[in-house]
Structures are given as structure tokens and as C-alpha cells.
């Protein structure tokens, strides 16, 4: 009787068990043809359509409609279930750190203030324990961000499936810049306001000098001059030329204004990230037409005098002012909480539809990958998930996840520990 119970649980969590695999055997991602029958498909870009079947083939959404059939395809009955595009977390350290307190596992921050040539992509650990933990929540794509210094490196978008970083690469790279901050680093930061201001001014001057150097480098390089090896400038030149966008991490209201001003005379593709006080200057961000990746939503307000829900209402307020807003977690091992961040943003002003867009098509558009990610449309990558309800709700179970057409095993360390220890054998008495 006990054994049947265990198998029943396994059936619930691992529908793939129906393929007769032995308990304990490793389940691998599977490619091929899949027919997801009779689901309610939330396309994001074309409304929500009921009783629809999605055909996955060669990694893409080959077709969607009623009464599709394909004899070779593996059929998954999705009656009563929902299909959503895979969620995109546009800013975190997933894959770049394993155990945060163990320095040897931290790979997101390099020595030096100006190191834009550091490639986050190469440091991503495809086998990080946190990746399987994350993707079963429906978050399929994530922007790995370096940090530290003024130009910490180049961020890269990865899909959470693949055995090498190149296999995971999802088609976006951007140079990160930490805009000089007038905020305090912590409660122990006791510099006076004038000193913080002075340091920020000095830092801007420094950045402008580096920028000028980069412009010069780019000009000379375009003129085919023989330049000395200068990898930092070579990477900055790609921003000057427009090849790579600039991801500017900036949070305090006055800093956002300063950043907008700083960008006025520069022809770069800029994206503002962080933006926790964006609601204070939302109109100005909208006028400047700068897209915003903000989060986490589940965060403390910046100021003691702020309303307690300042971080919850931030995305909604910016959206209302006309800003293009995507939501991120800025986390490492709990990127799986992206849908809950979106849920809170929705409850506190953004609305369900816009909150869903903020973690699917909007980050895809901001990062320029909306050609293959961010919505359920024919021809796009089959990066999606099937759930029994609203993925923002904690009660909802995510039943299946597909990344680039691969069916992902719905297991990870947390699940395996659950299976082993729910009913421990031996129990209390040996």
C-alpha cells in the first residue's frame, strides 16, 4: 500500500514516469515532436485562445490551432490546463554563483573598475544546481549580469537548458554600467550628503573620461588605425558603435535624472536597470523613452519615509506614466520567484495582463529577442510551460516546461529530496 502511494506521488510530479522509467534513473531533456492538445493558450500578443493545440517541432512552435494532429508527435493532454510563454528574468546572477557565502563560487564580479570585456556568458555554470530548481517554475530565460565597479562586464541572455554556455546562449549581450550612486550602501555608510554628492560628481567625471577614450578608440579603429591591444576600450567601442546596448544600473531618483541627462548627447542604445525609485521620476523616464528593467518587487522601500509598498507599486506607476517596464528578481538561487514578483506588481497597481507582459514579451522586446521569445506565436522558439492555473499564484502547479523545443525533466534537487524524505525509510525506529 505504501509503495503505491509513493508511485502516485511520482506520477503527480513526474508525468514522464508514465514512460516506465525505473525509480532513481536519471531523466534527461527530450527533443522531438510534441502535440500539446486542447489547452487554453495565453499567447500574450494575440489574446487568450481556448481549446487550442500547439505543435512543437525542431525546437519551434510549428503550428497552433484547433484539431491539429501529428502521428509522430508525443501527445500531452492539456485539457483544463494553460500554456504560457516561458518567463524571462531580465537581470540576475543565476549560474554565476553557487553558494553565496563561499567566495570560490562567486563568478559575477572581477577586479578593476573598468572591465567591460568580462563575459558573463563564459562564467555561467550550465550545471548549477539552481538552474533545474528555477526552470520548473516556468522561468525559462535569464539575463546573467556581472556586477562591481563602474563597467563590470558584458551581460548575456541564457535559456535554462543546455550543457555548454553556448548551447544556452539566447541571443542578447549588453555592456553593464553602474551609474554613480548617491544612495548609501548600508546603514553603516555615514558619509555626509555633501561628500556623497562630491564622490558622485567625481565618478561622473571619471566615466566621461573613459567614454571619451572609447569614442577615440572607436574612431581610430574604424579608420583602420593600428592600435595597441586595449580590450576594455575595444569592448566600449562596441557600445559607441551601437553594436551592443548599455545596461545602466541606477536606482536613486536624482541619479536616474542624472543618468537621463548624461545620455542626452550620446547615441547609444540604453536600458535602465534597477530603477527602484523610478516612480518618483516616471514622467521624465517616459519622455526620455528609455526602457526599464526593475526589481525585485519584493523589496524594502528605499527611504524610511517612503510608503511601505513603494517597491510593490513602482512598476505599475512607471507603466502608467508610459514607461516600458520589465520585471527582474536580481536574485541568484531564487529566480523562481519571478512570477511572484510579477504577482505583487499586479496586485499593487500593474494589473494581471501587464504584469504578465512584464515578464514575457516586454523583456523580450527590450532585449531585442522578441523574434523568437516572449509569446506563443507560430515560428517562435518552443520555450513555454504548461500549468494548471495562473502561474503567479502559489497554488498553481507547473506541469511541463519546454525550452527550445526540449521537454525539461520536472525534477531537481529539491524535488528529489522531497521524494526521498517525505516518508523516510527507516523512519523513527530502525
Amino acid at each position: 500500500m505504501k509503495n503505491i502511494k509513493i508511485y502516485l506521488f511520482l506520477f503527480l510530479i513526474l508525468p514522464i514516469m508514465s514512460y516506465g522509467q525505473i525509480e532513481g534513473e536519471v531523466i534527461k531533456p527530450r527533443g522531438g515532436k510534441f502535440l500539446l492538445q486542447n489547452a487554453t493558450v495565453v499567447t500574450v500578443t494575440n489574446g487568450t485562445i481556448k481549446n487550442t493545440t500547439v505543435l512543437i517541432n525542431k525546437g519551434k512552435i510549428e503550428a497552433l490551432g484547433e484539431n491539429l494532429a501529428d502521428a509522430e508527435a508525443t501527445v500531452i493532454d492539456c485539457s483544463g490546463l494553460f500554456i504560457y510563454p516561458g518567463m524571462i528574468d531580465a537581470g540576475n546572477r543565476l549560474g554565476l554563483v553557487e553558494v553565496n557565502s563561499v567566495a570560490e563560487t562567486q563568478d559575477f564580479s572581477e577586479v578593476g573598475e573598468v572591465s567591460p570585456n568580462m563575459q558573463a556568458l563564459t562564467a555561467v555554470n550550465p550545471n548549477s544546481v539552481a538552474i533545474p530548481v528555477t526552470r520548473v517554475s516556468g522561468v525559462t530565460t535569464s539575463l546573467a549580469m556581472p556586477s562591481g565597479g563602474i563597467f563590470p562586464g558584458t551581460a548575456a541572455l541564457i535559456n535554462l537548458n543546455g550543457y555548454t554556455p553556448d548551447q544556452m546562449y539566447a541571443g542578447f549581450k549588453g555592456v553593464v554600467m553602474n551609474f554613480p550612486s548617491s544612495a548609501r550602501r548600508g546603514s553603516y555608510d555615514r558619509r555626509s550628503d555633501e561628500d556623497i554628492k562630491k564622490e558622485a560628481e567625481k565618478a561622473i567625471k571619471n566615466i566621461n573620461e573613459i567614454w571619451q577614450k572609447a569614442i577615440t578608440y572607436h574612431r581610430l579603429d574604424s579608420a583602420k588605425a593600428a592600435l595597441e591591444y586595449y580590450p576594455e576600450m575595444a569592448q566600449m567601442a562596441k557600445v559607441i558603435s551601437g553594436e551592443l546596448p548599455l545596461l545602466i544600473e541606477v536606482n536613486a531618483a536624482s541619479d536616474i535624472q542624472a543618468a537621463i541627462k548624461w545620455l542626452e548627447d550620446k547615441k547609444v542604445r540604453a536600458i535602465l536597470t534597477g530603477v527602484s525609485e523610478g516612480w518618483r521620476v516616471a514622467d521624465e523616464i517616459a519622455v526620455a523613452d528609455l526602457p526599464v528593467i526593475t526589481g525585485p518587487v519584493l523589496a524594502l522601500p528605499n527611504r524610511q519615509s517612503d510608503r511601505y509598498d513603494a517597491a510593490y507599486t513602482n512598476p505599475g506607476k512607471m507603466l502608467k506614466a508610459g514607461v516600458k517596464v520589465a520585471i527582474r528578481t536580481d536574485d541568484a538561487e531564487n529566480v523562481r520567484n519571478l512570477p511572484f514578483n510579477a504577482g505583487f506588481a499586479s496586485a499593487y497597481g500593474m494589473g494581471k495582463e501587464e504584469a504578465l507582459r512584464a515578464v514575457t514579451i516586454v523583456p523580450a522586446e527590450i532585449l531585442g529577442v522578441d523574434g523568437h521569445l516572449g509569446s506563443i506565436e507560430q515560428g517562435k522558439s518552443a520555450t513555454l510551460f504548461i500549468s494548471d492555473g495562473d502561474p503567479f499564484e502559489t497554488k498553481t502547479q507547473i506541469m511541463h516546461v519546454f525550452i527550445d523545443g526540449y521537454q525539461i525533466p520536472m525534477t531537481n534537487r529539491h524535488v528529489r529530496l522531497y521524494q526521498e524524505f517525505l516518508e523516510r525509510s527507516p523512519g523513527l525506529e530502525k
Partner: protein, 458 residues
């Protein structure tokens, strides 16, 4: 004339009373809500009558005496005030990290009523918290159970005086890093942590014997018995052995949880709750058999090596194995959405609504020894109540009002944005903090290891 004397005496008495902490208690009538009682199922379209800070009656169509504030709650949910069994909110100091045993210190000495974290917790429906010593020491100080009566300038009015005493223990990486690796004194390994705790208890037994002998001798006529030295630390440890305090032990690994369970068995200690206990699921049967439960995170893991092998199914596994389980925050940000954290146990382990809500109400109340006073909506219990728009376990839940002892301390529609009680006379520009979280378990501790690296908090 006599009347005058009575009046004057009464006034004098009143004056004296006003020197003691005066706890405000209120009257209230909540109407037509869906009441989540926790212990008595869900009652729809139901009223709750509160008198002098206590729940007087739950039922339909209750009429209240005039002057009772009435709150119309139709379409809304009411649940008991959320209880956080592990918090450091409203404390000026968190760690006395200079010694591996500091049972003599008391968090009630450093309660800070000006902490905006109290208000933010109220805005998340939390009415009671266990304000704890940090996790720097194997045996830390006595915690203080707080009621979130935000707005008072008197820290004593925040203390839940009727709550039993609790004390903080900590195992694993934190005490071994602070003392062993940081200062070169025991403990430096999990072996040392056990030794320190056993030493403490054994010394306390000797201390108790000395004092019992003295008290016996001093009770006799013309006694010249000389008192032994007074040691508050050993006295407190002795009180633990006498069952007068509940231990809340910060722990992660299964082996160290086992260690402390065995130590408690050896010394006859029954009042022990494990907190964090990320690997508690590995020893769920033992926790169920020998302890007062486990207080866990919903899904935090991998921030230290000792939590690398944890699972977000922890709370579900523990619950299904009969362990009294609660979900805590240990963080000024997380405390604001414990209702959402509890909801995660429905995704990770399929707990029912009833089981999930118990994790933040009656279960932590049991672990703090206050389950007869708070933790559910029953007549006779204290009126700590939260009104929600949408079911609290939904991600779209928004707390509307929070009551402590029948007094409203949070109202989403009426409250000012700026809830600071005190403002500095010279701070012209308000500091802007980029703190997403505020983990304070290791607050105030020198964080050097032998190699001088800085470790993240927590």
C-alpha cells in the same frame, strides 16, 4: 469631603498606574467577513465582536454597544494576526557576539520602538514577533516576544508580558565562524558547538547545587552561610534545565539537529523548537517525536554551504510527518509577506489552505507558548486580526487593516505615507538605502575569518 478623598486617591492611583506600561485595548465590530478561524474552519458572512482587546463573540448578525467602531468587511477575509517566530525587527542591538554563551543578556533591554520595520510588518499583517538574539553564539540571549503596537515611544508597551520566556541557541557555521575562525576560541567545529553547550549545562547544574545548598543553610536560624557568587548566565542555563524557557535553536544540518535533540534528551529538556532547520526534513520523525516543532523558511537556500542541500518542500514534509511547523522571516523584508510565503507550501508539497495558514498562526503561537492567547479566532483570545482583500494565500492578497488587541494599527486607506515616529533634527536629505533585504541574524559581528574575507550576512 469623603467623595473628594476618594476621587483624589483614585487619581493618585491612576497616576501611579500611568507609570507602568499602559497597553491600549480596544472595542471593535467586524461585520460580514469570511472568517478564517484556523481552529474552527471557515465561517462566511460572519461578524466578530471585540471587547476590551479580547474576542468576545463570533457569529452572524451581532449587534455591538454604541460607540463601538464598526468595520464593514463584506467580500473580505479576516484571519488571525500573523505570528513571526524568528525576527530581529525593533531591536537596537542584535548580537552580543563576544562570548559563545551569553544566556544572561536579554533582548527586552534593547527594544527600539522607533523601528519603521514594525509598521511595515503590520502592513503585512504581522501582529506578534519573536524578537531574537542573533546567531553569533552557540547559546545566545533571551528573546522577547513583541506585540506590534507601533506608535508608542515606550518600548515596554511593545513587550507581550504574558508570553513565556524563550532563548536563542545557534549551531553550525555562524557560531563556529564568529568564535572559532574569527577569534580563535571554541567553538570552531560542530564538535565544539556540542561541547560548549554541554559544558554550559553541566556548569549550570553545579551552580544550581551550590545555591540550593546555600539557600538551605541560610534558611536556618542564626545562619552564617556565605552566599556563592551570582552568575546570571549559569542561572539562566539552570532555568532552561528546569523547563522555564523555550529554546529556539538556529540550525541547518541534520546532524547538528540530531546532536541537540540528543543533548536535550540527556538533560531532560523538552521545550525545544528548531528554527531555520533547512535540513529538518531529513530528521522529520525525530523532530516530531522529541521537539516542540520547527520554524522554517519557505524557500531560502544555497546562501551558505550548510543550506546547499535543502528543499523548498521542507515545510510540507515536516507538516506531513507530524512536526509542528511554522514559517518565519528572519528578515525585515520577508516579514511583510509571510502570508505569501505560507502560500508557497501549496506549490511545494500541496499543503491544504488550512495547513498552510496554520504555519503562520496557531503553529508559531504554539512554538512561542502563547497558543492559548493568540493564533486563531476564538472567543476569549486576544483580538489580533487582519482584514485581507482576496484570500491571504493568493498572490493578489492585499492586507487592508491590522488590529492588535482590538486597536487598529494599520489601515491601507487612512495611513499617512511617512510613518516615522522620530526624525533627526539635522538630517536634511533623507538617506536612500539600496537594501532589498535586511537580514540581521549576524548583525554587528566582526566578520573576519582567518583570511580576512567578508562574508555575506545571514
Amino acid at each position: 469631603m469623603k467623595n473628594l478623598i476618594y476621587i483624589i486617591t483614585a487619581l493618585l492611583l491612576l497616576n501611579l498606574n500611568s507609570l507602568q506600561a499602559q497597553v491600549k485595548k480596544g472595542n471593535l465590530l467586524i461585520k460580514n467577513a469570511t472568517v478564517l478561524t484556523i481552529t474552527n474552519g471557515i465561517q462566511e458572512d460572519t461578524d466578530i465582536l471585540v471587547e476590551n482587546g479580547l474576542i468576545k463573540q463570533i457569529g452572524k448578525g451581532i449587534t455591538a454597544p454604541s460607540n463601538t467602531p464598526v468595520v464593514e468587511a463584506s467580500g473580505k477575509y479576516v484571519m488571525p494576526g500573523i505570528i513571526d517566530a524568528h525576527s530581529h525587527v525593533a531591536l537596537s542591538v542584535v548580537n552580543e557576539a563576544s562570548s559563545p554563551i551569553t544566556a544572561e543578556v536579554y533582548m527586552g533591554d534593547v527594544v527600539n520602538p522607533f523601528d519603521i520595520g514594525l509598521y511595515r510588518a503590520l502592513a503585512g499583517g504581522v501582529t506578534v514577533s519573536n524578537a531574537m538574539h542573533g546567531s553569533a553564539n552557540a547559546i545566545g540571549g533571551r528573546n522577547v516576544t513583541l506585540k506590534h503596537r507601533y506608535g508608542t515611544l515606550n518600548p515596554e508597551e511593545l513587550i507581550m508580558t504574558e508570553a513565556p520566556r524563550t532563548i536563542k541557541f545557534a549551531l553550525g557555521e555562524n557560531p563556529t565562524r564568529v568564535h572559532g575562525r574569527g577569534k580563535g576560541i571554541q567553538p570552531r567545529s560542530r564538535m565544539g558547538v556540542e561541547a560548549i553547550i554541554r559544558n554550559g549545562f553541566n556548569e549550570a547544574i553545579q551552580y544550581k547545587k551550590k545555591w540550593e545548598a546555600y539557600e538551605k543553610a541560610a534558611g536556618q536560624k542564626n545562619s552564617t552561610a556565605i552566599p556563592p557568587k551570582y552568575n546570571l548566565r549559569l542561572k539562566t542555563l539552570g532555568d532552561i534545565l528546569d523547563g522555564k524557557l523555550i529554546i529556539h535553536c538556529h540550525s541547518y544540518r541534520a546532524d547538528e539537529i540530531n546532536m541537540l535533540i540528543n543533548v536535550c534528551k540527556d538533560f531532560g529538556i523538552k521545550n525545544i523548537v528548531f528554527t531555520h532547520v533547512n535540513e529538518g526534513f531529513k530528521v522529520a520523525p525525530e523532530l516530531a517525536a522529541h521537539t516542540m516543532g520547527a520554524s522554517v523558511f519557505a524557500d531560502w537556500w544555497a546562501y551558505k554551504f550548510e543550506v546547499y542541500y535543502s528543499t523548498s518542500f521542507n515545510a510540507a514534509i515536516l507538516t506531513k510527518n507530524g512536526v509542528i511547523t511554522s514559517i518565519n522571516s528572519d528578515d525585515a523584508e520577508l516579514i511583510r509577506h509571510l502570508y505569501h510565503e505560507a502560500g508557497k507550501t501549496q506549490r511545494y508539497g500541496g499543503l491544504t489552505d488550512e495547513e498552510a495558514l496554520a504555519l503562520i498562526t496557531i503553529n508559531p503561537a504554539k512554538q512561542l507558548g502563547i497558543a492559548d492567547k493568540v493564533g486563531s479566532i476564538e472567543p476569549g483570545k486576544q483580538a489580533d486580526l487582519v482584514i485581507f482583500e482576496n484570500h491571504p494565500l493568493s498572490v493578489y492578497a492585499i492586507p487592508q487593516m491590522t488590529f492588535v488587541d482590538g486597536i487598529k494599527y494599520f489601515d491601507i486607506n487612512e495611513d499617512e505615507h511617512d510613518q516615522r515616529l522620530k526624525v533627526s533634527a539635522t538630517e536634511m536629505v533623507e538617506p536612500i538605502y539600496l537594501m532589498e533585504h535586511d537580514h540581521r541574524c549576524m548583525h554587528g559581528v566582526e566578520m573576519f575569518s582567518e583570511t580576512g574575507q567578508f562574508f555575506g550576512t545571514h
